[in-house]
Symmetry: C2
Subunit: 528 residues, 2 copies
């Protein structure tokens, strides 16, 4: 396989020559009913990806296909599935796809079949969750557990929390909800104190999540919680399970009800489909729901193997994002799901994308001369319409938009007002926004003029079910992966978090060795 | 007063000539203990604004002072306080400062003293909140109210919700918390259904908030709630108060327990200190807490009248933002409070900033040739460190950072681990990040190299109290206002929301007249 910096490819030159056409793409003329119907790609679990409102014509599409072929994106994906060391900096395999099913060769590491290992852990935590839900595993006082609290940060928090919120209403409506889930992440003591203070600890099981077993915030919060349990007269060992790696201090530790394992090949931001997301989701909604979620993700992983970019939603989404970032010059992108259930999905994508591709060196450590990952932010619609959409419509920068929407709500509890139910209003708003952003509106009063030319994509489906959510999650994981391959960087490490950690340790040890750092610490009242 | 486009000022040319120095500002050399101590501006309610880690030297500061003087920023602010029509598009005064106290001339509108009007409404809703809290006003079944649910969207949701979350722990700790507050905003029926489904309606009072009384989402959610109340055998009129304008259909309507009034001079995103935020916060925490919040904001409004940019935090913050946006070329900014209580404050600032200054025409409606409002996003620290900070440290774009932190937590409930309590770890992380972003770190392994040169500001104080929160809120309101004056635009209208509303209505009426819009509606399963 070839690993070439993007600006050294033939496709780079072609795309550069096409950029002026992209910048002046005539949405008002191009965006017809026929285009909306034609520009659609089926995704896993019944979802579809529509790119009609992207500034891309036939020559651009052809050039993006050539780029995909030239950078061997599908070959690289297959190599990743087959267990090749794609996390070059840390010299690790990248195996989150294997959590959902076998899509490549069996991956044998130090004599162990890792697909079997992940399946085995899935079985173990599924059984644990069933036992808790059935009241067979109980707290120290003998009460069954009603609450599950995840203690974790970063990928151990954002993804699992977003997935929990995404499925909470669906699970409640369909009779799967049993435990309420809560999350403690921040080292700010008010976070743990407020969550713990709101719950009956006798009815609460904690899930401690740290791959390394050394995450500062998570260990501080673990001890915070154990202290409260002890003060409530409850044996902490009866109220806490761990998710970690087998080499961590948390592993095989009798201080926990049980420990469930992942390994170094599951990155934090890619861990929602591992025990990191699986234990808490299975406790709340049951292992069967989690299994459906995995099956949607697995199906999406298979779809992402297709070489024709017009038939591979994740690949096409990735390439259109590169087109906008490197050739149209748009530095940010907004994620706008028209679904309250996806209220924290943008925060998860923000981590997934910005932590994966916010890099300035290539996979071999050489500096890159082109823009990589964009800034990502978002809130659910219609809420955002009454907030930052003003800038999206009439600001001086163009920010590409990623919409999502569903035919049906999750709770099927609606009211008709002025001739339509709320779900219909929600969808009408979504359709209207796409067209408003793309086509704009002329006006002799320039303050009421909408320039249009603001591109967007739309992922849509019938309902946000567990399988649809898995499909959506894997779509974005695979999109980000493909973009990393185009940019020839390593999407799977995060060296950018290290310097802050190191300086924090020095402050806490009183040995910062930097006058400014000491001065800031003093301003903030850091005391030892 | 002169109203001049920014690129026509003398300061524009001076700042342009200084831009290369700003882009190559040597943080490693400049950021000393002395600079950290010197670059500090006192704010209201005991907060301070520190700009030591900004790429600004003496010549840049002098040029920014000249800009402030040349664009008459303080004169324009004083004119706004005096009730001049500063919302030029809608021909309205801009009076949110008057909600907090008199800082200009008395404002008489159609024979009415508006300062007295706002004070009178404050008194009325304070009394209502007291009566609810005391159990004198009760629900239809005679039960006292334990829950208050705000129904509103945009500024009627984001600001009040962020303020509620910001003070919840403080109020609980200090014995002021009485009602739990919840929020329904989205037209997605799952939003209202989930909130309503989780509460005992007999113990719940709703606060319906819509200035115009015609907001589609809010009216749909009102009827959703009334339907549920009626089905629960509860008279909806005994469970709902309204916040609106006197000319709206909701005003003086016997269908509500009471109605509290604002007017067209209080913009949605500036309404947290009006009845829009005041009713729900007073119900939850009591009128005395809300009064402290107002006093902090009022004090900040007074501070913002200072002409010396080195003594006026809001003004300096605004000017440094303009410096970064127009001359250093940074298109986005991140808001990073090291306080879990401020977890939704970035979402409020996102609206405040992007809806106010995301404009492409000047206050007279002529197109502008320079960049205006940046994209704004953020999450609380330390959470963000384990997420998108990777891109902030090592991405290819520079994104200026707005930090905040406090000496003490709100709940004063902490645990010592490895020689420090969590609050100390939180602050050590914050100090470390500022220095890591600014100074970076060289490394022969380029993947572990931090380029530095990433500017930030820090707002800090002893504790996030109601007065400190008011100070913080008003700081940002005034910052955004000053930036709007520099850019010579109208920060107080939002014409960018209109086109989407219009197209939505057409879709719902089945008369879109646009093939693409009909096709999108069909994809989403819009039915009539």
């Amino acid at each position: 396989m070839n690993y070439t910096d993007f600006d050294k490819t033939a496709a780079w030159k072609t795309l550069q020559s096409l950029a002026p056409a992209g910048k002046h793409f005539d949405f008002a003329a191009a965006l017809t009913a026929d285009r909306v119907k034609a520009c659609t790609v089926p995704m896993a679990a019944g979802l579809s990806y529509n790119w009609a409102a992207k500034a891309a014509d036939e020559p651009a599409l052809a050039a993006l296909q050539s780029l995909a072929d030239e950078q061997e994106l599908i070959l690289k994906y297959q190599a990743l599935l087959d267990g090749e060391v794609m996390n070059t900096g840390e010299k690790r395999r990248v195996l989150h796809h294997l959590l959902r099913g076998q899509s490549g060769k069996p991956v044998i590491h130090e004599g162990r079949n890792l697909g079997e290992f992940y399946t085995n852990e899935l079985g173990r935590f599924s059984a644990f969750a069933e036992a808790v839900r059935a009241g067979q595993v109980r707290g120290a006082s003998g009460k069954p557990f009603k609450n599950a609290v995840q203690i974790g940060i970063g990928g151990s928090d954002l993804g699992p929390r977003a997935m929990y919120i995404a499925l909470d209403n669906w699970a409640a409506k369909n009779g799967h909800k049993k435990l309420n889930a809560y999350f403690i992440s921040n080292v700010d003591p008010d976070d743990a104190s407020a969550v713990v203070g709101s719950l009956d600890l006798a009815e609460t099981v904690f899930v401690l999540v740290s791959k390394s077993g050394t995450t500062q915030e998570t260990l501080a919060n673990e001890l915070f919680v154990k202290d409260k349990l002890a003060k409530a007269g409850l044996d902490p060992g009866k109220h806490m399970a761990a998710v970690t790696s087998e080499t961590s201090p948390l592993a095989r530790n009798p201080a926990y009800l049980d420990s469930f394992y992942i390994d170094d090949f599951i990155g934090g931001r890619y861990s929602s489909t591992s025990a990191v997301g699986g234990v808490i989701l299975s406790l709340a909604f049951g292992p069967a729901v989690f299994a459906e979620f995995l099956s949607g993700a697995h199906e999406a992983d298979i779809c992402a193997l297709e070489k024709d970019i017009r038939k591979n939603a994740a690949l096409l989404d990735a390439l259109l994002g590169v087109w906008e970032r490197n050739f149209l010059g748009y530095p940010a992108t907004a994620v706008l799901p028209y679904s309250q259930a996806l209220s924290r999905f943008p925060a998860h994508l923000q981590q997934l994308d910005m932590e994966s591709n916010g890099k300035r060196v290539n996979r071999s450590g050489a500096e890159l001369a082109y823009a990589t990952g964009p800034a990502v932010f978002g809130e659910p619609g219609t809420n955002g319409q009454h907030s930052f959409y003003q800038l999206l419509h009439q600001g001086t920068d163009i920010i590409p938009l990623q919409f999502a929407g569903f035919t049906n709500s999750q709770r099927d509890d609606d009211v008709e007002v002025d001739g339509s139910v709320s779900q219909t209003k929600l969808k009408a708003n979504l359709a209207a926004q796409i067209v408003a952003f793309a086509k704009g509106k002329d006006d002799s009063d320039k303050n009421k003029l909408f320039p249009g030319g603001r591109p967007s994509s739309l992922i849509h489906g019938k309902q946000l079910t567990p399988a649809a959510l898995g499909s959506l999650l894997a779509h974005y994981e695979n999109k980000v992966m493909f973009q990393g391959f185009v940019w020839n960087l390593n999407s799977f490490d995060q060296e950018g978090v290290q310097l802050g950690k190191m300086l924090t340790k020095k402050v806490l040890a009183g040995t910062s060795g930097d006058g400014a750092l000491d001065a800031y610490s003093e301003l903030l009242g850091v005391q030892f």
